[in-house]
């Protein structure tokens, strides 16, 4: 596990906790929960850019390269889809949808790390 994973672990868990608490408190998605998911997206983008730089610099992905890129591209789409959906329906349940992004992102980041090394 590298620094990218731990960044996503931290940001993802924090985002999930914020969104679950907001959902339990019966709040509709607000700036705080949506921005926490945006932070997850940002962390994933850092991972993407970092990975591209490493490949250009000559580092080799140990596992299947296209599997790694497939994971990261899918992971990048999740926060966008969840935020879009939470804007369509502004109820507490959308906060739980947003909460799912953080844990999913960290599971996918763990898998991406496994593929890379």
């Amino acid at each position: 596990m590298d620094a990218y994973f731990y960044i996503i672990l931290g940001v993802g868990l924090l985002s999930t906790i914020i969104c679950v608490v907001a959902g339990i408190l019966k709040k509709a998605p607000n700036d705080v929960t949506i921005l926490s998911v945006a932070a997850v997206e940002l962390a994933l983008l850092v991972y993407l850019v970092g990975s591209i730089v490493r490949v250009i610099a000559g580092e080799r992905i140990a596992g299947e390269a296209w599997e790694f890129w497939g994971y990261i591209v899918t992971a990048l789409m999740l926060p966008v889809a969840a935020v879009y959906w939470s804007i369509l329906e502004r109820t507490r349940w959308s906060n739980f949808v947003l909460a799912a992004v953080g844990v999913t992102a960290l599971v996918m980041a763990a898998r991406m790390n496994q593929i890379w090394y």
Binding site: W85, T91, V97
Partner: protein
């Protein structure tokens, strides 16, 4: 949909399952549909001959998740029935494949979503159909006479 969502549950029991908790359910199903499809596609394309049965099951599981996701998102009586069937198939699948992978590790040595009752996925595949059935029951279409 957005303007009346707060009142439509109380006034007319609309034949939909894609609001409130159903949204969360669909979101989790969608994540499983995507990951199971990707995984099954990968397994079949790269190493199908190693364990054809397990990978065909993987593909079948992926299909069930896709059908469940789509049907839960759709309104109407027909989609309700499709949802019930998809979720029931999912429940039976995870129970049968889970049990087989425990007792017959020779035939099922390779990972599928449903192996060991979905342990590789934090047992979510086992919990999801139960929550799905509860949700479908609570949002069942009103009797035709009403």
């Amino acid at each position: 949909m957005t303007a009346t969502s707060s009142e439509h549950t109380a006034k007319k029991p609309a034949d939909t399952r894609n609001t409130g908790p159903g949204r969360l359910l669909i979101a989790v199903y969608a994540v499983f549909a995507i990951s199971a499809t990707a995984r099954a596609g990968y397994q079949i394309l790269t190493k199908f001959s190693e364990a054809p049965l397990a990978y065909v099951l993987s593909a079948f599981a992926a299909l069930v998740y896709v059908v469940a996701t789509v049907s839960l998102a759709k309104a109407g009586r027909t989609w309700f029935k499709v949802s019930v069937i998809a979720v029931l198939v999912e429940l039976i699948g995870v129970l049968v494949v889970g049990a087989l992978s425990v007792f017959d590790a020779v035939q099922f040595p390779h990972e599928t979503v449903w192996s060991l009752f979905g342990r590789g996925y934090a047992f979510i595949p086992l919990i999801l159909p139960v929550l799905g059935l509860i949700w479908l029951y609570r949002r069942r279409p009103a009797p035709r006479s009403a």
